[in-house]
Amino acid sequence: MKAAVIVFPGSNCDRDAAVTLEAVTGVKPAMVWHGDEALPKVDLIVLPGGFSYGDYLRSGAMAAQSPIVRAVKAEAERGVAVLGICNGFQILTETGLLPGALMRNSGLNFICRDVDLTVERADTAFTNAYTQGERVTIPIAHKDGSYFADDETLDRIEGEGQVVFRYATAGGGSGNPNGSRRDIAGLIDRSGRIMGLMPHPERAADAALGGIDGRRLFESLTRTLN
């Protein structure tokens, strides 16, 4: 699987994503500078975490309007898989590639900690190495991660099975950290090719750092896209 990681001037999890991709796939991903005109031919595009253009207006708002993201959209339309992590998820909602919006955490503060997630869909290109209903632990690190969509939209995306990860609130789960509606932590689009999530799977892919539950997300992609 060949992947590209988009590097905005304020990205800061681009290296983390690249390291994990290389560790899992054995192939160094292409690092694509936001000012570049075109994307190389790849199977997967990763929009990494960070603060794309400083995120001053709304997280991801300015990146959503950038030329490189227009190119990403075009690739996505051609069927290339797109994974948005944290800021990448914010960008995907701002572009409209994924529904809803990510708002300020309900507690207002930035939160960095491990959270428990329930895998809602284990039949997607991004999650087929997990099992349905499984509980996994992956860190979050964000200030604007409270997922919002109106009831009608929520019903629709639930109905269409677009919710892939939920914060685990029941049975000793660590709970909903940010006030996301319906505990939504990660979403996939209708085509099944575009996914965004607030937790950072690339931070849970190396046993030395305390957990490897995120690794299987990249393994799923490798399996599907190879």
């Binding site: 207006l57 708002a61 909602t93 701002e94 529904p99 919006a101 708002m103 300020r104 507690g107 919002f148």
Partner: protein, 79 residues
């Protein structure tokens, strides 16, 4: 020409910032505060001199960038 754009959360969208401000005001003793909503104020200085074209331009800015229609409303005033 100067314009003032205000971006506010739509009704029904939870506003944790506004709520936190209301709580803080209460604990400072401002018991008369019933509700607080926080929004953004964006002041734009424009080259344009024609009101109608300025309005159209400002409106386009809001739709494309300054407000997120999923959660926000906006209002444009020329000063």
């Amino acid at each position: 020409m100067k314009a003032r754009i205000t971006v506010t959360l739509k009704n029904g969208v939870l506003d944790p910032q506004g709520r936190a401000i209301a709580n803080a005001l209460h604990s400072l003793g401002f018991g008369g505060v019933e509700d607080v909503r926080q929004g953004k104020l964006i002041e734009v200085e424009l080259k344009a001199t024609d009101e109608t074209s300025a309005k159209t331009e400002l409106d386009a800015m809001c739709r494309q960038l300054l407000a997120n229609p999923v959660i926000e409303n906006y209002r444009v005033e020329l000063l």
